[in-house]
């Protein structure tokens, strides 16, 4: 909730700030700047690059601020760590009172709290020492070394001189003190607003972990083997799916028998998410490569079949008639008209198929694998190595985005006439 409010504030703040800074500057001189109607004119809305850059920066600032990153100068309050102390006043049944001090050491996240000793001091109550880790709380059995025992009716009445009741709590500045049901003292160091690294590590920890794993590998394989294997599975599955799917799609687009035969199969299989097939594929093929590649083959197959079929159906009949009238044979029309005409559709299908395959391979590796991007993050999650999990997610995102960019580049290069007939 706090994060969301922060984000909203930064969004509005950046918008206002950029507006103010730009106010003095003249905007770009192009045709769009002369348009008076821009609200509702989709073509007049172009992504503001400043907003994109700030958006990415904001994500890292919030990430850093809430995880105590060293890269970010401003942080939300951190949980209390270090040394603190407070006094407690204990009262015996006969009204005798004495004060003693409890020394507290709070170790940072991830470090072990080491026990230590303090001078007991004088009087009926003795000083105590307690060690704990940030964001945990500790129960202090104060009377273990005291003369006034809880068993004999002694109870804590005040903390740092402030009265405390059985269900109340006292703020010591570094944490809060309350009493347990049996009268023991419960100290909770202030939590602050930062995330425990187990939930979300700081960005630099993730980067550090990336270099460490790039260097040393993880779970018997190097980082590049993990990512490479995922990619190889995707490529092999996609290529096999295309090799079968594209000719099948052509056949369905050109022959009534093929279309009638395969229509029910394709239409049934198309809406089945590949993820739903994982259990069956594991039962059939086990957890090794065959199963994964078969799964990706299926994921790509239907998409490519439908794309190729649509490519054939989409050919303007004038083009076919023109080719016949120019004396082309059926084979020549296939080679020179139908295939090139269907390429734009096939490329659109290929982009979708690659995206689906990438998602499917990660999911399949989450379920069962010895290596792969998905296996890496699921294995790390079992050891609560959140930094590896986040690193894996970021890498999976980057690779997926990279695949799409490559596919688009290939498309522009191979089918420049797309959408221009």
């Amino acid at each position: 909730m706090t994060v969301l409010l922060f984000y909203l504030a930064l969004f509005i703040g950046a918008f206002v700030l950029v507006k103010v800074i730009r106010g003095g500057m003249t905007s770009q001189k192009d045709f769009t700047s002369l348009k008076t109607v821009t609200f509702g004119d989709e073509s007049a809305v172009r992504p503001d690059r400043a907003a994109s850059i700030i958006s990415v920066v904001v994500i890292f600032v919030i990430w850093g601020a809430f995880t105590g990153s060293k890269l970010i100068p401003i942080h939300v309050p951190a949980p209390f760590t270090g040394e603190t102390q407070f006094t407690y006043t204990v009262e015996a049944e006969d009204g005798q009172r004495d004060d003693a001090t409890i020394f507290v050491r709070v170790a940072p996240f991830g470090e072990k709290a080491e026990k230590f000793e303090v001078e007991p001091g004088e009087g009926l109550a003795s000083n105590d020492a307690v060690a704990m880790t940030a964001s945990r709380s500790a129960t202090i059995l104060f009377d273990k070394n005291d003369e006034l025992k809880r068993k004999s009716g002694a109870r804590v009445v005040a903390i740092n001189g402030q009265e405390i009741s059985a269900d109340g709590s006292v703020d010591t500045g570094d944490g809060s003190v309350s009493l347990s049901g049996k009268g023991a003292i419960l100290f909770t160091p202030s939590l602050g607003m930062q995330m425990n690294p187990i939930w979300l590590p700081a960005p630099e920890k993730v980067v550090e972990r990336f270099f460490e794993i790039a260097d040393e590998g993880y779970q018997n394989f190097t980082l590049w083997e993990h990512l490479g294997w995922s990619l190889i599975r995707v490529v092999v599955g996609f290529v096999l799916g295309s090799i079968v799917g594209i000719p099948l799609g052509y056949a369905m687009g050109l022959s009534g028998w093929f279309r009638g035969w395969f229509d029910p199969i394709v239409e049934f299989m198309r809406p089945v998410p590949p993820l739903a097939l994982i259990p069956l594929v594991i039962i059939w093929f086990g957890i090794w490569e065959t199963g994964k590649i078969f799964l990706l083959f299926l994921a790509a197959l239907w998409i490519m079949t439908i794309a190729a079929r649509a490519g054939v159906s989409g050919v303007n009949i004038s083009k076919i008639h023109a080719a016949y009238s120019l004396g082309a044979s059926k084979a020549q029309i296939m080679r020179h008209v139908i295939v090139p005409n269907s390429l734009p559709e096939i490329f659109t299908g290929a982009r979708v198929a690659m995206g689906v395959c990438w998602g499917t391979v990660v999911a399949a590796e989450l379920v069962a694998a010895q290596k792969g991007a998905g296996m890496m993050i699921i294995a790390a999650s079992k050891f609560q190595l959140t930094d590896i999990v986040i690193m894996g997610i970021v890498l999976i995102g980057i690779i997926g985005y990279g695949i799409d960019i490559l596919m688009r580049k290939a498309e522009n290069w191979l089918v420049p006439w797309k959408g221009r007939s």
């Binding site: 303007n316 004038s318 083009k319 008639h321 023109a322 080719a323 016949y324 009238s325 120019l326 004396g327 082309a328 044979s329 020549q332 020179h336 008209v337 090139p340 005409n341 390429l343 089918v415 420049p416 006439w417 221009r420 007939s421």
Partner: protein, 268 residues
Amino acid sequence: MSGLDINGLSMRFDLPNGSSVQALKDVSISLKPGELMSVLGPSGCGKTTLLNIVAGFLAPTEGKIELNGHLVTGPDAERGMVFQKGALFEWMSVRENVDFGPRMKGMPKAERDKIADHLLEVVGLQDFKEKAVYELSGGMQQRVALARCLANEPDIILMDEPLGALDALTREKMQGLVLKLWKETGKTIILITHSVEEALLLGERLLVMAPRPGRIHKEYRLPFAERGVNADLRDVKKSEGFAETRDEILSMIWEMEEEIMGRTEEVA
């Protein structure tokens, strides 16, 4: 016998609901080699169906078509086709579009290049040989389509509203080009149009068709195409007889349209 012979052609489309549409009824035309015939008529009179049958894309329910003495049974390179739009191959350059026909026949490259170079010069596109067709304007694309058709040396050229998608100015220029190509190549041409003026300018013979069922309503033999070969088309439009014939055909088609749509006076 040489030339095109259309004999007793009828075409009936059976609809899925059991009824049928008589698209053409008993159409007979005879065209001598080198004749230029334009076909005019209100929408639904079967002109495109007629052209598709001549091209061999459709088989008639009755009658037959003979070209140079042999029966037409399917599409063939002897009958070239120019479409209104969308029939060029976007994945090929202008040159590859033009030499498509010869290339499919297996003609060697040197010969093909000579044909393409020559035809692209004839249609005024010699500077656009290596351009992609989608980079050209609509008028230029139709010139590529004409050159592509001519490259194949067909006996007869069938044009299905070839200038229908062009703006008025480009259209006028292209009409001149069609006349020029007709005269220079001596091809037999059938041209379908729904512009009366175009039909008059580009028709040595003009066929007015009537709808329901599609049939020949009236045939003209006109001097304007011959005049237009060597003169400005605007002068041809002002020449003797043009305005009168145009008005006569316009009111003829107007009446047919009224029969279909209902009289406008009744609505008013």
